[in-house]
Amino acid sequence: MATSATHAGYAADNYLNHSRGLASWLFTLDHKRIGVMYLIGILTSFLVGGLLAMAIRAHLMAPDGALPLTNDQYNQVFTLHGAIMVFLFIIPSVPAALGNFLVPVMLGAKDVAFPRMNLGSFYLWCFGALFLVGALLSSGLDTGWTFYTPYSTTTDTSVVLATFGAFVLGFSSIFTGLNFIVTINTMRPPGMTWFRMPLFLWATYATSIIQVLATPVLGITLLLLIAERTMHIGIFDPEYNGDPVTYQHFFWFYSHPAVYIMILPGFGIISELISVHSHKGIFGYRFIAYSSIAIALLGFLVWGHHMFTSGMSNLTTIVFSALTFSVSIPSAIKVFNWLATMYKGSISLTTPMCYALSFLFLFTIGGLTGLFLGTLNTDLHLHDTYFIVSHFHYVMMGGTVVAFVGGLFHWWPKMFGRMYNEFWGRISAAIVFIGFNLTFFPQFILGSRGMPRRYATYDVEFQGLHQMSSIGAFLLGFGLLVAGLTLLHALFKGKLAPSNPWGGATLEWHCSSPPPHYNFAHAPVVGDPYEFDHIDYDRSIDGYVFTSPPREVLPKTPQAEPATAKDSHS
């Protein structure tokens, strides 16, 4: 093919060097550059949030605190860790950074439907991040990332700044989701039906539905909270006859679907990774696609399971519990389909695949421990203990972050046109996997033995497990550092990437690495995104090339026939 015939698929004129100068980046409308800018911002937040996590774990090395932090400062550290990781990192991680880069390319489109709005949502993200950082610098924040009333209406830390930051970030998220829904609906190329879309797009679509439907509710909740603090409107504040449980309902109506905003794009990445690196078509395409939508919709019905101990009626808790279990069905469908995809595939244990396998293991543990929390009687014991901390880290960190890092390794050659060192990539995956389990598995035991979450100090009997967890956290941090350095090294020293280093069949592998400014010189031919039969390894470029399928049109046999018959065929 024309695209891969050039020098290893590396495009001389690509989106990175199409125009130069800082202004050409800051005012760009190119979705790829916006995606890269998001990536920089998001990884910076991840670094900050990660360092805060290291501080938490270091402090918990000793029962009375190993670091010279007061208990109030500890509260601020874990709050900022949570708020930064949730609002600045995980929610925008896959959709805003990878999604922005990949959605139009996977669609064979030139850009998202609303490029200016796309840039606007990036600046909203920056603006919201400034407010969160402002809260950090002014008087901190110690409410936990959930801003529960009445504490958030009485504490003298900067709740208003932080909630306004989260409000603005919500709008950034809404606009990103809206953009993707419209892009996927109206800009699919001819021939790409809904069921010929890559599963990453299905996952992004489901995510976007949640972003559009749920985030406005967070917006109004945070506005009301700001009004509560500034004007004492008496809706959430019991001092003025408000009802704090109403706040929890409002908050979780957004924040539970937000959990699926975080994990669904991770599912999308894993669907791509497992299929491509097993070189085998995805098993149960429609089931995976529909289960994404099912998760998105069911996610709206289960918010009450965060509030089993907040004082709801028995009937309500039973209904929420039952609905919670129903979410496990589409999640399990996905896991089984991924396993079935790998079965009898020719699996290449590349770095992305190593991360995908970690994901399968960690997410399954995270999902299964969710069942203990969804069960009413066990939840009463486990609520607000380290068990829940561990559960959602298995899902968010072991699920989304591992998928995100795997996705970064998978698309890094496409984004920047450079290959990284496979050896160090795999080492990082191994360290992350071991470090992660060492960090969070002891926390399940801690929680089930009654260690409450968010405490700065603990009983001496818990010290062994806490130290194990802390050492694991440092190992995990080290593993991510190795991953980061591997990718950074690739940027500067990596060899040029072919246009299709893994043998993927989706459209992004049809354009050069990195993609040209307009993504595709020719409108790409749309085929089955998981059809790997006509992709062959080419040793000369150390990548894969698309071969033309043998055409089974009629010419051969009619050739032998008389001229009269030939005419009738044409």
Partner: protein, 408 residues
């Protein structure tokens, strides 16, 4: 002008030369239809987010109404139904002009388009003018969110001069209107057709804010502010509602909602002298005279109690009314109870007013573009999208009005 026939060629063109694209077609779209559909889907999704956002507030309304119905019943009498109704009419009319504007854009009637957009903008401005009177009046009375709620029914309210709240709300509009007036005059003097086409509707919109203020003042001042007791607008409204039951023969004049000036002060003292039951006439009165018919008696007593309370003369004998109505007194005398209603009132109407302001920004932008004749039969998307946004703002008000003003 580029036509759509030229466009499919561009979709497969190798170079991304924009020569075949009409100026209005963004580079990443292939056809105007695709661009229009994308915008339309986008705005509908945005409207979904708006509905979700407001639904949070409506949910809060439902929850707190269910928790403390007496607060809502007692407090909603302070809202002036006339002003609410005027604003409803204004917004409905603005939806008509907006829809008409979309049609004008499709038919390429450029001047008419500017006029219709200007009319919509004027209605928006009028709405805010009336709203500012409503707000400032309530703020003067101390009918504020729970934290600041300072309504005292016994206090004497003198309205001397303009409310400082009103001045704060009207000042930005005054400055803008003066600026627009200067701009308009300069544009006229210089005979700059484009600038006067833009400045004209904007100036009219600025003026209609003050028309709204004037209209609001007229309707608000229909009550008596003389005498020792303050009679709020809502009292007279309640009395007017009770009128058919309580005592039309006693000279309680129901006010003409259109011409509220020159109405006599309500002789509220008379109304207090006789029990409502005794004053009730007609079939209801006869029913109420029967000792056994406690339902009607309760109803009349409750209505009188409500009217009294709204008139700010609650002093004694709250205990002889039973049931939730007896709690009404406590409900609005206790800031922490009565404030909740006004919290929700200010949140819902405030967010709605903010949407009106944003819509006015969009309309101004459209007026500038329409004056440049940028819209044509192939390209009227922005007018259509802003129109949809405007309709949802209108529609939200259609829900807000009965929930806050009418349901008692």
């Amino acid at each position: 002008m580029a036509t759509t026939e030229a466009l499919p060629h561009d979709a497969t063109a190798e170079d991304h030369d924009h020569g075949d694209h009409p100026a209005f077609l963004a580079h990443h779209f292939d056809t105007p239809e695709q661009q229009f559909d994308s915008g339309k889907l986008g705005i509908w999704l945005f409207l979904v987010t708006e509905v979700m956002m407001f639904s949070g507030l409506f949910c809060a309304y439902a929850i707190y109404r269910a928790m403390r119905p007496e607060v809502f019943v007692g407090s909603s009498v302070f809202l002036n139904t006339q002003l609410g109704a005027v604003n409803t009419g204004v917004l409905l009319f603005s939806s008509l002009t907006m829809a008409w504007a979309v049609r004008c854009a499709q038919l390429e009637q450029h001047r008419m388009l500017v006029g219709m957009l200007g009319a919509t903008l004027g209605c928006a401005s009028l709405f805010l003018g009336v709203k500012s009177i409503e707000y400032s009046h309530k703020m003067d009375l101390g009918l504020l969110p729970a934290g600041f709620y300072s309504y005292d029914p016994h206090a004497v309210h003198h309205h001397e001069g303009l409310s400082p709240f009103l001045i704060w709300m009207a000042a930005p509009f005054a400055i803008a209107t003066i600026g627009l007036l200067v701009w308009y005059v300069i544009a006229k003097v210089r005979k700059n057709a484009f600038q006067s086409l833009v400045a004209g509707p904007l100036l009219a919109a600025g003026l209609s804010f003050f028309a709204g203020v004037g209209l609001g003042m007229l309707l608000e001042s229909g009550e008596s502010t003389e005498g020792v007791e303050h009679v709020s607008e809502s009292a007279e409204e309640s009395l007017a509602e009770i009128g058919p039951l309580v005592g039309e023969e006693e000279g309680i004049h129901r006010q003409d909602p259109v011409e509220p000036t020159g109405v006599e002060p309500i002789d509220a003292a008379d109304a207090e002298n006789e029990p409502a039951v005794a004053r009730a006439t007609g079939v209801v009165g006869q029913l109420a005279q029967q000792e056994t018919n406690s339902g009607v008696r309760q109803q009349l007593l409750a209505e009188e109690r409500q009217a009294e309370m709204a008139s700010g003369r609650i002093t004694t004998s709250a205990e002889d009314v039973t049931g939730p109505v007896g709690e009404l007194v406590q409900a609005i005398d206790t800031p922490r109870l009565g404030g909740v209603f006004f919290s929700i009132y200010y949140c819902i109407t405030g967010l709605h007013a903010f949407h009106i302001l944003v819509g006015m920004g969009f309309l101004t932008w459209l007026i500038v573009r329409a004056a440049r004749r940028e819209f044509e039969s192939n390209y009227f998307g922005p007018v259509d999208y802003v129109g949809l946004y405007w309709h949802i703002v209108d529609l939200i008000w259609i829900y807000v009005f009965p929930l806050l003003y009418l349901i008692r």
